[in-house]
Each structure stands twice: as C-alpha cells, then as structure tokens.
Symmetry: C2
Subunit: 240 residues, 2 copies
C-alpha cells in the first residue's frame, strides 16, 4: 500500500489516496485514532463517485470512524474486461426495452464479485496494518452483491449497511441466508433502477437475527438526509 496524496479537511478528517499494487484507493481517517473502519462500496468508477463517497466518508469521520474504498476491477482507470463491457451494454439495452435482465445480471455481477472480493480482502489486510486503523470493520454500500459475499466469507466484517439499489444475482440469495452479522438495509421504495419485490425478497432471505429495513421515498438518488443519519447510528452502535 503506497500513499500518493493527502489533504486534511476542516473537521480534521485526513483524506489519502493510495495504490495497492495497481488498484487505486482512498482512505479517510478521523482526527481521533486508532479508529473503526467502514469499507465504502460503490458501483465502480471511483472518480465519478468521488463526491458521494467523500460525503459518506466525512460523515463516518464525524462519528470517529475511518472509511476506505478501492476501485472495482474493470472500472475507472483499471483495464477493461470485454465480457463485462458487453454485459453492461446488454443490461442498458434490456432495461431500456423493458426486457428481463436476470441472465445479464449474472454475467455482469458474478465475475465482478469473484474478482473484487480478494482485492477488498487484501485492502483490508493493508488498512488494518496501519497504526491509525484498528477495527471493528463495517461494509457500507451500493454494490450489495459485494457486501453479501464479504459479509459471508470475511470474518472481520462485523456489520453491514446495504443499499438495495443494485442488481443481485438470484444465486446469491443462498449466500444471503448464510449472513449472521447485523444488517441495515436501505430501500428507495420507488427506485426506478431497482425491482422492489426483489429487494424485499432479498431482505427476507438475509439470515441475520438483527436486520433492519429502512424504506423511503425519493427515487434512486433521493435518499433523505435523515436516512443517512439512521445508517450512521447503526454503524456507531455496532462499531464504536
């Protein structure tokens, strides 16, 4: 892990860009340390996502929690995969035409998760070896399939906040049943980019004894401010 830039914000939060091999990433740490850590999931394209990631990270820092993320395979400035690019184009076309997308989602998301998970675990190794990051660790984010897999196989993940706003292959519902950590699931009730019934089925499938669903109005991008506060309180309860 190599730090390549740093800047400090008004609230004392330190933002550092890093590389892990050829994978770019960002770490935000609060002024108090060592601190718990939240891995920020996203749909890929860290630069495009930066404003929203930084905003989520600053909220973590306000609660004394570090946050980190890395670029997904085949996204941002990382080498493209022909299969993933094809699947992404097929998905856009199928959604526009109102056609079924299950097979395309499988082709797109399953290889992405398979490739991303070892990278996120390596990033976790590196992050937890830093003097200012201690754990426990949470996963928060929109690439819900990545969160599911990490919650199942990575014992250092103690709690997850999942945004039910992205596609989950049906075969991963079986993995969802094996999750036992506390879950906080955010659902935008009229999410134009997401099937509500599928999100409710997934929430039902999660094996966790403590799981909470917060559904709100406002469309895919319209998560209300108070819903973000609720998610922050969930993590504060389980990580601090």
């Amino acid at each position: 892990m190599r730090f390549i830039s740093e800047q400090r914000f008004d609230n004392g939060c330190l933002e550092r860009e890093f590389t892990l091999g050829d994978i770019p990433g960002i770490l935000w740490t609060p002024s108090s340390s060592p601190s718990p850590l939240i891995l920020l999931g996203h749909p890929g394209g860290m630069n495009t996502m930066y404003p929203r990631l930084a905003s989520r990270a600053r909220r973590c820092a306000q609660n004394g929690i570090a946050a980190a993320t890395i670029e997904l395979p085949g996204r941002g400035e990382r080498p493209r995969s022909a299969g993933a690019e094809r699947a992404r184009a097929d998905l856009r076309r199928a959604l526009a035409a109102g056609e079924p997308v299950d097979e395309i989602v499988d082709r797109l998301v399953i290889p992405l998760v398979d490739r991303a998970v070892p990278e996120w675990r390596s990033a976790l190794d590196a992050l937890l070896s830093l003097p200012d990051v201690r754990g426990p660790v949470g996963y928060s984010g929109g690439l819900i399939a990545l969160g599911i897999r990490l919650a199942v196989i990575e014992p250092r993940i103690a709690a997850a906040g999942l945004f039910a706003g992205s596609f989950v292959p049906r075969c991963m519902f079986h993995e969802a049943r094996r999750i036992t950590i506390p879950l906080h699931v955010l659902l935008q009730w009229d999410d134009e980019a997401n099937d509500r019934q599928s999100a409710l089925d997934l929430f039902d499938a999660f094996g966790s004894r403590e799981k909470t669903l917060h559904a709100n109005m406002g469309g895919h991008m319209g998560v209300p401010e108070f819903a973000g506060d609720d998610a922050a309180r969930f993590f504060a309860r389980h990580l601090t």
Copy 2:
C-alpha cells in the same frame, strides 16, 4: 374534561388520569410546557396496556412532548357492544383455524373506528385547551386504522407513527391514499399476528410524500429499543 388523579415521575413527567364524559383517559406532560402532543393509539383495554403506554409516554416526555390516550368504545371498563364482542370471538376462532379474516376485520374495525374518531377529536379539543398543551399534534400507535382515519380527517394531526401490527379493513386502503402528512411506519417483519404483504401493500398505498418504513425482526412484541428511538426522532423532527 375532569382530572381525577395525578402523580409525578422522577424525570418531571406529570401523569394525570381524566374522564371526558364517561370516557377514561390519561395525560402525561413533560416538565417543560406548553408542549407538542402525541395521541397514543392502542388496541383497547387501557389498564392492561398501561405499562407499555406509560413507557411510550415517558419517552415522549424526555423529548419535551406531552402524550395522551383515551379508552376505546366497548373496551376496558366501558360498556360492551354485542356485535364487537361477537366479531372479536370470530376473529380469534378464524385466526386459530387459519381461515380468512377480511369480513370479520371489517365487522370489528370499521364500527370501532367510526365510533372512536369523534371521541378522539373531542379529546383533542379538550387537551389543546389546557395551558400546558400547545401542539403540533402527532398520532402514534397500534390501532393503525384509527390513525389512518384521523390522519385523513383531522387537520390538527401533523405527523403519524403507525405500527403495522393490527388489522386494517381493505376499504380503508382508499383512505390511506388520501393521507399527506409525514408517516413513520413500523413493521415487525415476522409478526405472527399480522400479514406482512398486507402491511407492505398498505405502506405502498399511503399518499404521503414523506413516508418511511422501518422493518425489524423480533415478532409482534419484540420491537427493538433502537426502533423506538428512531420513532422518537421522527416525532422530534416534525413536532418540536
């Protein structure tokens, strides 16, 4: 409105029993006044429900909000109605036998709401004329059908927290569409006494632009402590 007893709790909350004509009721006021007010809905039988009502009321008082409730028609020590008693017995029998209950719920809940609503509005008149209660007013509670009707026809109700744990006649789904005030809906995901799909359909039907569903595990009586905190924050946001 005639006060018949009073006691003050450690946190300064004053509990007063009252009668409104022949209807018994309880008012809890915080030490700071005049204050907003939450009407506490319940399934009837105020004495049996007292521990849970008092606990909800004390939480209101901690947030500087008064709380009040009155006995439902035909419940507690109020005169019984033969039709309601028969419907209640039929409901118990049908639930035990796993038979459909829609017709019985109509027979039980519709007349109950029709009779209760004018009483709750009279109670509201009396409560808001007290020097220590100012408003705005919220409705919180388990008799969700009463909350729906009040939210539609009583303009003084500014926000409602509804517990999706009681039966709602299907014909009231049309009323639900006419609600415009902010709603906070609590659903126990594995509620043994409530049909989940019907609760989700009802949440979908609510016409409010701000409506939030919080679903949790733990069965009908197992609402987690943090879910109560969330509901309290909803009311604090809209009433204080």
